[in-house]
Subunit: 382 residues, 2 copies
């Protein structure tokens, strides 16, 4: 397959590129370094040195003998997006090209404007590149479980049959997200669904939970091929923050009550899921929505898991609740379906003590790089 | 009240400005002439000569002794939007500043991009102007009944309580619109709801059906104060097209089967509704959604009404079905709630034979201006 990966410099984009290239697909990655730019501007540098995309591609070629084509371009500019799709002629576009930070999207008006413009803009341009050049391209879009928010009813996979006053219809599952970033993904889905049903496009929208992990079969033993690892309040996930806090010997900071439940998955499972989606494209006119996570637990449970893993390698871990900088329910019902990807063949890698311990060992090797000032919340939802 | 009307040059914006000014409110209108620009570019000029905003304001002052402040500016540019809100200090913002044509939004990629950028951009900027300058401003946003599409269950006013597997929650009513223009209004509502619940803004979202009418108490006998009247396939509503076809002696063109049902309302009822909404602002943190129409009927029934009104003034009217340029259900269930505005005090003006006849008389006076080449569909949904 010819696979075009947008946002190919990202935490998921880069491992995805290596994954497809390693199995023999023809891979082109595009990125405009937006995340690098923002992380520099917000004093949110990653823990490991991050070679630029050209360097990574060259290193991957040395390491594996496989090639990846890299283009530095802005998918939010239609001419650039259109030209790349026209020339590369992808069978599948994997669309990660979004500003990925919820806190950044809540920082101020300019940051919110950038997030809205970039995220809607890239999705819109991918849609129109497909309409203009080849409506048969299978677009695999990364959404987020955060689109659903925390409703008081079971979360289904994208769609909901509703019975109302004795009549029935099927709708996109109603969504209410917790940040502007997550809301842009709600809008992306609305936009994709409109164009899918109007122009018979082919789209899979993967509603993904928070991803953790560093090592994939393609980067074992080669740090230059690691994905970016952010632990700051802006780009770091709660998993990364907790792991770094454990290594730095400072308390794990649980936001509020810590009963916020989310669905998590291993980086290697993201690679599996995206490949399973790409290998089973949907029909023209179909928007397939899959909930992409393997296990769901609360922030308190996550803290306990990191505590246990820390103990396992001799770290003394403390857990502390701090004021929640976000506006979110800290105790809520949460039960989300996630059978679609299992049916496609996903074999989950769960968040075991061994996996967390392995991450802690890698982080410990970079302990001197940890800058604790970056960890506490700098952005508040008000 | 201090009322800021965005899109104040529009079909509804201008009559709204006169309505509030006439009753003694302090009114400022803003427009960037986007609709005028597009209607020129697409050969879609209105039937009546349209004085520019400065001319209209001067004429209104002569006519009524009341003043309206007019600013030519682009609300999609945040600096301009923010400065106007900061300086005018509105109590209420009435937000009509959107690219209003469904067919234009489906013309091609540049037209779609302009629609998305303008409509989301103006809404986003209004939100942030309120956050930055005064979150207590009541934002009255014009949505559209088209956000709901044509679901197979009853349409409620904005919200739906859903029971699913024995549990319940309340959600924004799930929406699936029929054009990109209508979809941008779905996205507007999503965006407004996110910021309302996160920053305690005050918003009323009026889901309006197609509006018809020319004459309001403020422009009787003064054509220079008429709203724009488009009858072309891009900016003209189905009502205007039918009326002009009746006057021109060409068949009324029903798209497809003509069983498409929509909720309609009189221009004077829009003025009532917007004033009722403005006069009863919602609390901070509330998004109130009201369905703004007074009666619902099919396109075939509309054609019959125009036929009858034409007969009434001696016109011979023919009705003809043509291939539907849109992708929409031509037969469907439709039953939409609309009690909220009636409860606020709306006194409907229905689409009577007299009202349609009066419009036909005004149009007949401009019969020589009718350019029939503009009426047939020039944009198709594929």
């Amino acid at each position: 397959m010819r696979i075009l990966i947008l946002g190919g410099d990202g935490y998921l984009g880069w491992p995805t590129a290596m994954h497809f290239a390693a199995r023999g697909d023809e891979v082109c990655v595009v990125d405009n370094y937006l995340r690098r730019t923002i992380s520099q501007e917000t004093d949110s540098d990653p823990l490991f040195r991050l070679p630029d995309l050209d360097e990574r591609v060259a290193e991957f070629e040395r390491h594996s003998g496989k090639t990846i084509k890299a283009i530095i371009a802005d998918i939010a500019e239609f001419d650039q997006c259109s030209k790349i799709v026209e020339e590369f002629k992808p069978d599948t576009i994997i669309h990660y090209a979004e500003q990925p930070s919820a806190p950044y999207s809540m920082l101020n008006q300019p940051a919110a404007a950038l997030t809205l413009k970039n995220n809607l803009g890239t999705t819109f341009n991918v849609i129109w590149a497909a309409i203009n050049h080849n409506p048969k391209i299978h677009i695999v879009k990364l959404g987020t479980m955060g689109e659903y928010g925390t409703p008081n009813i079971d979360i289904e996979e994208g769609w909901l049959e509703i019975e109302h006053k004795g009549r029935k219809d099927k709708f996109l599952y109603p969504r209410a997200a917790g940040s502007l970033y997550h809301t842009t993904k709600v809008l992306d889905t609305d936009l994709l669904w409109f164009y899918v049903r109007t122009y018979n496009l082919r789209v899979t929208d993967l509603m993904q939970g928070p991803v953790y992990g560093l090592i994939t079969p393609q980067n074992v033993g080669n740090e230059a091929l690691f994905p970016n690892f952010h632990y700051d309040d802006i780009f770091g996930t709660v998993v990364n923050r907790f792991l770094v806090q454990a290594v730095a010997g400072i308390p794990l900071t649980v936001y509020g009550k810590g009963e916020q439940t989310r669905g998590y998955l291993n980086l290697n499972d993201t690679l599996q899921c995206v490949a399973l989606a790409a290998d089973s494209p949907v029909e023209s006119g179909d928007l397939r929505i899959l909930n992409q996570f393997t296990e769901q637990f609360t922030v308190n449970e996550l803290a306990e898991r990191v505590y246990d893993a820390g103990k396992n390698i001799g770290l003394e871990v403390e857990i502390k609740s701090i004021k929640n900088p976000r506006k979110e329910k800290e105790e809520h019902y949460y039960n989300a379906a996630h059978s679609g990807l299992l049916e496609l063949g996903l074999e989950p890698n769960y968040m075991t003590k061994e996996i967390l311990s392995e991450m802690l060992v890698h982080i410990s090797a970079k302990k001197d790089n940890i800058e604790t000032r970056k960890i506490m919340p700098r952005v508040s939802w008000s």
